[in-house]
Amino acid sequence: MDRFTWTSGLLEIKDTLVIQQRGIKFDAGTLLLSTHRLIWRDQKNHECCMAILLSQIVFIEEQAAGIGKSAKIVVHLHPAPPNKEPGPFQSSKNSYIKLSFKEHGQIEFYRRLSEEMTQRRWENMPVSQSLQTNRGPQPGRIRAVGIVGIERKLEEKRKETDKNISEAFEDLSKLMIKAKEMVELSKSIANKIKDKQGDITEDETIRFKSYLLSMGIANPVTRETYGSGTQYHMQLAKQLAGILQAPLEERGGIMSLTEVYCLVNRARGMELLSPEDLVNACKMLEALKLPLRLRVFDSGVMVIELQSHKEEEMVASALETVSEKGSLTSEEFAKLVGMSVLLAKERLLLAEKMGHLCRDDSVEGLRFYPNLFMTQS
């Protein structure tokens, strides 16, 4: 069949995919209909792809299926133009092709093909890559291999990417409009809730909060980002209690929230927690009577401790350590005890707050001494 030409198989700019049907015979492939062409792509070898311009089609007819025969569409064609680009056959005595639909879809495909034939959209939208059409003296481009061929492929790819991006932006803008509606709606609901303090059930509050969570909208009433108290965070808190028990015990009963964040997310691999998810879940630990709790030091550093962990008791042993060595900086203490510098510092600061240690703040760093003012006066 000499009306076919080899093609790279990309849809041209302004080509729109109208319908797609699999199982067409010429050794099993996929048939695609666009506004400009009929494209056939081999199912196994995706490189093997050919197309025929819709403008070449004179007339189509259906052939119903019979016993042992699948339904067909017969496509009658114009004679091949002289400078047509190369295809699977150089010449053919037939002026029609038969499309055999092994996996059905013939009815729909026929309908769409007829539609395209009637509308003749390819006449309104000139295609960038000029294949020979029946109107006017448009020069057909000789398809070259080598550098020109590669360049053309890149150009097509670039156009495709550009098209994708502009399409993506368009779709994104539309999506954002809808998202904005959700934001407005949530504000109006929040206002209603505020006005009717007490008249809205707890159930409804929980529902509302979970809606906000899904959309990523800050809770308009409390201004926290959707705040704690959603079911999700409660479940998460319970999960965390399970996961963190062993690591906490290994690390002396206390871990900074940053360490927890890394540990948990590395373990998960996917469906990671956001920092806010973690914080909000941890805030619920105590309320849910789980064996861990969140603690915030004066400096703002946040840690998770085992309930059984008593930082104040640890301070006593810290004092011993410092006394033994005379004085220690956070780094030295951290190394001795085997904890992170951050938490070591917090412990020493707490000891200082409780009056057990004194600080010596100089350019050489922050050094802690046992508080002799207390013990020796």
């Binding site: 954002m176 609901i189 209603k192 929230l257 360490e259 806010e276």
Partner: protein, 258 residues
């Protein structure tokens, strides 16, 4: 004339009317919630459709990510607020940024002993890219900044300080006020700063300059060089990008985390 609004009957009537209003009020909220729930489902479908067409775009294209984030911010939506949000689940943006957060923490921890917890955005970018390996997808500086902003919620003092044309990323809760920041910005040019330089450029008095520099020394952010020609130089290791870019490996970065 018929007197209205008095008597037991009137009171009972009033109570009934109030109760009806209350009920109505609750019904109104319920209605709106149901409406929101329906709209949410619709939105989820739209988002799924968007994701099926453009999820790759977000993954591969940093400029598109920026556009996406900006648009969300404009309408008041935070796609990174929760891993359970639609955006995160369907577009995969969450995992991208949260994992980046982990990588940033690791790099900062690994280099802290050298730079005191202060690092330029460029160096951080370089180190993170190295840690991610050849086959991981590209991250931009904008991506890093967004990930860091989220990390602030963890309370461990992540900060972003503008200097020169770029940013310094602070990863330890050192107290840095305006004075310190300004001196850091001054030091960005040469990697070090002197008392005289501060006095000339910022028109400060000696004592103020000294205090700031001492604080930076204490926090481990600056090193004192008494052997420099002329007066003492205060160097900022955070600004030594060239020296460190080759040194740390991905394993080192991971091991640094206790």
């Amino acid at each position: 004339m018929h007197r209205r609004g008095v008597g037991a009957g009137a009171i009972a009537k009033k109570k009934l009317a109030e109760a009806k209003y209350k009920e109505r009020g609750t019904v109104l909220a319920e209605d709106q919630l149901t409406q929101m729930s329906k709209q949410l489902d619709m939105f989820k479908t739209n988002l799924e459709e968007f994701a099926s067409k453009h999820k790759q775009e977000i993954r591969k294209n940093p400029e598109f990510r920026v556009q996406f984030q900006d648009m969300c911010a404009t309408i008041g939506v935070d796609p990174l607020a929760s891993g359970k949000g639609f955006w995160s689940e369907m577009l995969g943006v969450g995992d991208f940024y949260y994992e980046l957060g982990v990588q940033i923490i690791e790099v900062c921890l690994a280099l802290k002993h050298r730079n005191g917890g202060l690092i330029t955005l460029e160096e951080l970018h370089q180190q993170v890219l190295k840690g991610r390996g050849k086959f991981a997808q590209d991250v931009s500086q904008d991506d890093l900044i967004r990930a860091i902003k989220k990390l602030k919620a963890l309370g461990t003092g992540f900060g972003i300080i503008p200097v020169g044309g770029t940013y310094l990323i602070q990863s330890v809760p050192a107290e840095l006020n305006m004075d310190h920041t300004v001196v850091l910005q001054l030091a960005e040019k040469n990697g070090y700063v002197t008392v005289s330089e501060i006095k000339t450029s910022l028109k400060w008095e000696t004592e103020r300059a000294r205090q700031v520099l001492e604080h930076l020394l204490k926090e481990g952010l600056a090193w004192l060089d008494l052997q420099a020609p002329g007066e003492a130089h205060y160097w900022l290791p955070a600004l030594f990008t060239d020296l460190y870019s080759q040194e740390i490996t991905a394993e080192e970065a991971r091991e640094a985390l206790p």
